[in-house]
């Protein structure tokens, strides 16, 4: 076993490094030059010209958000959802921890324990949406089609926890009762003709 990791005793030092940034101007003249340089670049007028052009054409494509919303594709990756089993309405998540492992921004964490029926149970589950980059790996890796992406891309709320609470992510029970849970069709979903491609295991029953 490599011991290097244990020999570095400087606990304040992480994997951080300083980025090369141009020095800030300190004197008045320098500051003035920076203001001029930033303000009078040609880009400003390019933008203004586009606005002016579209205004006089009267052929506007702008959607009146939030009154109007574009339909989004079934594979769109917005805020995560936790699906329930069709048969029993219980949660699909088995606590395997693959989403936690694959998450490249390291924003998923779960606590598991053994429940009364000697099964593995997820006691707590969080996604830190502040870090999530919505890459979809968690949905792709999930063997139970439990964690998926939903269509809700409106990430504004007075409480950040609203999006990361396990209870909130689970499909509401009345949606289940109404048979209205939607399956995710993005990466990780079952592809068509899956049955034909599976080799059958012989069985003695």
């Amino acid at each position: 076993m490599k011991m290097e990791a244990f020999n570095n005793r400087n606990v304040t030092e992480g994997d951080y490094y300083l980025v090369d940034i141009e020095d800030y101007p300190t004197d008045g003249w320098g500051k003035f030059k920076r203001v001029v340089k930033r303000s009078f670049r040609g880009e400003l007028f390019v933008g203004l010209w586009v606005v002016l052009r579209e205004m006089i054409r009267f052929d506007i494509h702008t959607i009146q958000y939030p009154q109007e919303k574009m339909p989004i594709g079934p594979r769109y990756r917005a805020i995560h959802e936790m699906k329930r089993l069709w048969e029993s309405d219980t949660e699909r998540c088995i606590g395997c921890g693959l989403c936690e492992k694959i998450c490249i921004s390291d924003c998923i964490r779960m606590d598991t324990r053994i429940d009364e029926e000697s099964r593995k149970e997820v006691s707590e589950y969080t996604i830190n949406l502040g870090r999530c980059i919505f890459c979809g790996y968690c949905a792709e890796v999930c063997p139970e089609l439990a964690i998926t992406h939903g269509g809700n891309y409106e990430n504004a709320s007075d409480q950040r926890e609203h999006f990361v609470d396990y209870e909130y992510m689970l499909t509401p029970l009345d949606t289940m009762k109404a048979n209205a849970q939607k399956e995710f069709e993005g990466f990780g979903a079952i592809t068509p003709h899956e049955d034909e491609r599976v080799k059958k295991t012989p069985l003695s029953y």
Binding site: M3, L98, I114, R119
Partner: protein
């Protein structure tokens, strides 16, 4: 054994004559798949996947021995077919619950299934009910079990509990068609697999063993799991911290598996302890007793200043041996600087014993170690309650008996069913306490070359021998001739007539005979049974590697000086090599580093022991200290090895080094002192960061360094005293811990839940009016204590065992020094 060269897949490989092919290949980084084989144990031949071709013949690499010039091919077309079929068979009816299985990817079934490229299944059999069992500290799921029998092998060949066995599965017979169509070995393996699952030998559904958990560690799949770890964490989330176990002197290599406590609590927590089970076996304390850290400590400046003041006015520092070498060095340096007295009774006794031993032997340390005990075939243990003083010494004894067809001789006053259960070839002698010298004399008498032995010892030994005439009843076969009448046809007349024929036959007959035999009084003194010599003679056949282990009963014995000299003489004049079992974790290190004093005087500071001002890693003192799992440092083990250990868990408070720095020392970390450990005592000037901590593929231990056994001046005086007849009689107590407990640190852990109290054997309880749970008062010359009675089925006989792991009991106050004492025991 001689070195030979064999050829594996075109590579010339050097190995030992008679080494198993699998081990030879592994030592040279050549891969041969194998599931059921455990290094250091005997081959099981359950999985058959290690098939190789040796000189054109298919053999199993795990039990085929290397011969000079052997040509080995690790894969052929046929072997590949066999291996694939074997893995397919293992996958038959294996539940697809890898997602929640606790093996979480560390699974050999998964690995080999992929390795053999199994992508489809050809075999099938109807499954039977294989629901899971809760065996107490272990959880067994037969559904996941591939019956490789590694758990059974480890328990039998290494641990010696013999708690597991294979039991009938009750499945349907395999389809006859498979016998024709399947590869041969795969079918044979499946046929056996389909008939068995793992069960307990005690017939119940709850384990009653020494709870080491080694079976769960060796399990290649998730069938056997520690109940406390079930569904707690995936293996890949855990960070391995290589360390050395801090509970006893064995100094086992362990890795603490660490992860954040929970979503809310980012503090590190130890989830489990893992080991390199091919090369080191843990006991229950090592495996489950990991959470003894001094948690939640912050820098308490007031207490720290008080501690510095206390150090300034202290006369004596009292401490226990559950500290690192570096801390011992610091204490010694403080003694030199400030003139403290250093008091540590258990290490002092060991140090004195070592010094007395050196006077005769001429070496600072004993000559052998547990590694050699593993490889020996005749082991004698004197003066140690092996199973609890040092579980690894017990494993070594058992391993030498099972794998090397060895035998053992165990001298101890307390009757121990675990030791007796190790096998048929262990002989136990329950001598009276204080008679350890007689046991050593007996070893001398039986094994020493009398010609070379100093004449006075030889004469003394001879004085125990006398000739006596005994009457033996022998059964001999005697030839008896008798005359039998037979009917015969007369050839001449053709008539039948009676003829007398002489016939001889052998008839067994009992004869009484008078024989002159040697009468060894020592045997009688020690209370060995009548058949002792006969049994010993049988056990000594074909034995060539002798090992002697001695323990703490000798160090604390009133005649310890004489015992130390005797031990040295045994080592010198017999074929025995010697290992001493240090009483506590780092007693050997402390004994080598510190100059210890006898008595505490004046204002006393205690480190992990109560005194006027107490520094404690247990969290109950005046200033908190880090526990061994929160510290870096080195520990000196029974194998004379200086093993490094790392901090598994963070610690926010002050440590001994901070106090030393406040007192004028200057070191950033306590491990800065590793390099200055005394070379005169055998330590090396090695930086802590350069100390490795791992095992090589061939089992070589690459951990820290081995102490140099420094030569010391020996006196020519080899005289030893005769032993006295003094022995303890009546009701006797013995200071020893129950299985899985060593110190207050093991007592503090959550998983080791042994009850503190007065341990009595079931036999003793049934013969007295005391019941388990009663409160009894134990009174000796030195003191008395009152505690609850605990019934212990791991001891037998009349000696009452009082543990030392619970300092609240203050059991040390009961005895003078020697671990045994006579006592009155009465119900209150």
């Amino acid at each position: 054994m001689s070195k030979i060269v064999i050829n594996i897949d075109g590579r010339e490989v050097e190995t030992q004559e008679g080494e198993y092919l699998l081990n030879a290949a592994r030592a040279n980084d050549i891969f041969i798949p194998a599931i059921c084989y455990l290094t250091r144990c005997s081959p099981t031949l359950a999985c058959r996947i290690c098939l190789v071709e040796a000189d054109g013949k298919q053999v199993y690499a795990c039990n085929a021995k290397a011969k000079d010039g052997m040509n080995i091919t690790t894969t052929t077309e046929n072997i590949e077919k066999e291996r694939r079929a074997i893995m397919e068979v293992y996958d038959v009816n294996h539940p697809l619950q890898c997602g929640v299985c606790d093996q979480s990817g560390e699974c050999e079934l998964q690995n080999y299934t992929l390795e053999m490229g199994v992508d489809s299944q050809h075999y099938t059999v109807k499954d039977v009910d294989r629901s899971s069992h809760d065996w107490g500290h272990l959880h067994y799921d037969p559904g996941l079990c591939i019956v490789c029998e590694r758990c059974v092998t480890a328990c039998k060949d290494m641990i010696g509990d013999n708690s597991l066995k294979t039991i009938a599965r009750g499945a349907d017979a395999l389809d006859a068609e498979f016998k024709e169509t399947m590869p041969k070995d795969a079918y044979a393996m499946w046929n056996k697999l389909n008939k068995s699952v793992i069960g307990l030998t005690n017939g119940t559904d709850v384990l009653d063993c020494t709870s080491c958990g080694e079976c769960a560690a060796v399990c290649p799949v998730g069938a056997l799991v520690d109940t406390q770890f079930m569904y707690k964490s995936n293996a890949w989330e855990l960070r391995q911290v290589p360390a050395t176990c801090g509970h006893c002197s064995a100094g086992c290599q362990i890795s603490y598996d660490v992860k954040h406590t929970s979503i809310e609590n980012p503090e590190d927590k130890i989830y489990r302890v893992m080991n390199e089970w091919n090369y080191v076996s843990l006991c229950g304390a090592g495996r489950y007793g990991y959470d003894y850290q001094n948690a939640g400590v912050t820098k308490d400046e007031v207490a720290f200043n008080a501690a510095v003041e206390a150090f300034k006015k202290a006369d004596t520092i009292k401490f226990t041996s559950t500290i690192t070498n570096e801390e011992a060095y610091l204490l010694q340096a403080m003694k030199e600087k400030f003139g403290f007295k250093l008091v540590n009774n258990e290490a002092k006794a060991f140090q004195t014993f070592l010094n007395d031993y050196s006077e005769v032997s001429g070496t600072k340390l004993y000559g052998s170690d547990l590694e050699k005990v593993h490889n020996s075939n005749f082991v004698v243990s004197i003066g140690s309650a092996l199973k609890t003083d040092n579980p690894n010494a017990r494993y070594a004894l058992n391993n030498s008996m099972t794998v090397n067809k060895g035998a053992g001789l165990y001298f101890h006053p307390v009757k121990d069913p675990i030791i007796e259960g190790l096998g048929k070839s262990i002989m136990t002698v329950q001598h009276a306490p204080l008679q350890e010298e007689a046991a050593l004399y007996l070893v001398l008498d039986l094994f020493a070359d009398k010609e070379k032995l100093p004449s006075d010892i030889a004469e003394y030994l001879a004085s125990f021998h006398s000739e006596k005439t005994i009457t033996v009843t022998e059964t001999i076969k005697e030839k008896v001739i008798e005359i039998v009448k037979e009917m015969k046809v007369n050839e001449e007349t053709g008539e039948e007539e009676e003829v007398e024929v002489e016939k001889s036959k052998m008839v067994p007959k009992k004869v009484e005979k008078e024989v002159v035999v040697d009468d060894n009084k020592l045997l009688e003194i020690l209370g060995a049974d009548a058949k002792f010599m006969e049994a010993l003679e049988k056990n000594l056949k074909k034995k060539d590697k002798f090992q002697l282990m001695v323990g703490a009963d000798l160090y604390t014995h009133p005649n310890s000086k004489n015992l130390a000299r005797l031990v040295a003489i045994v080592e010198k004049y017999t074929a025995f090599e010697l290992t001493m079992i240090p009483p506590l974790t780092n007693s050997l290190g402390v004994a080598l580093i510190c100059e210890l004093d006898d008595e505490a005087t004046g204002y006393t500071l205690g480190y992990n022991t109560k005194a006027d001002f107490t520094l404690s890693a247990l969290g109950d003192g005046d200033l908190d200290m880090p526990a061994i799992n929160q510290q870096e440092g080195t520990l000196t083990s029974i194998n004379k090895r200086v093993n490094p250990t790392n901090a598994a868990i963070g610690y926010g408070g002050y440590e001994l080094n901070d106090i030393a720095n406040a007192l004028g020392f200057d070191a950033e970390h306590v491990i800065n002192y590793t390099v200055s450990l005394p070379t005169a005592a055998g330590f090396k000037a090695e930086e802590f960061d350069n100390l490795p901590n791992h095992y090589e593929n061939d089992g070589t231990e690459v951990r820290g360094y081995v102490l140099e056994n420094v030569a010391v001046k020996a006196s020519d005086d080899e005289s030893v005293e005769k032993f006295s007849d003094a022995k303890l009689e009546g009701s006797i107590i013995y200071l020893a811990n129950p299985v899985r407990q060593f110190t207050d640190f093991t007592n503090k852990t959550t998983n080791l839940d042994e009850e503190s109290g007065i341990y009595m054997s079931e036999e003793f309880l049934s013969n007295s009016d005391i019941n388990a749970g009663d409160s009894v008062k134990v009174k000796t010359q030195n003191g008395e204590l009152t505690a609850k009675v605990v019934s212990d089925n791991k001891i037998q006989g009349d000696i009452v065992v009082i543990p030392t792991f619970d300092s609240k009991l203050n059991s040390e106050a009961l005895v003078e020094n020697y671990r045994f004492a006579t006592a009155s025991i009465e119900k209150v």
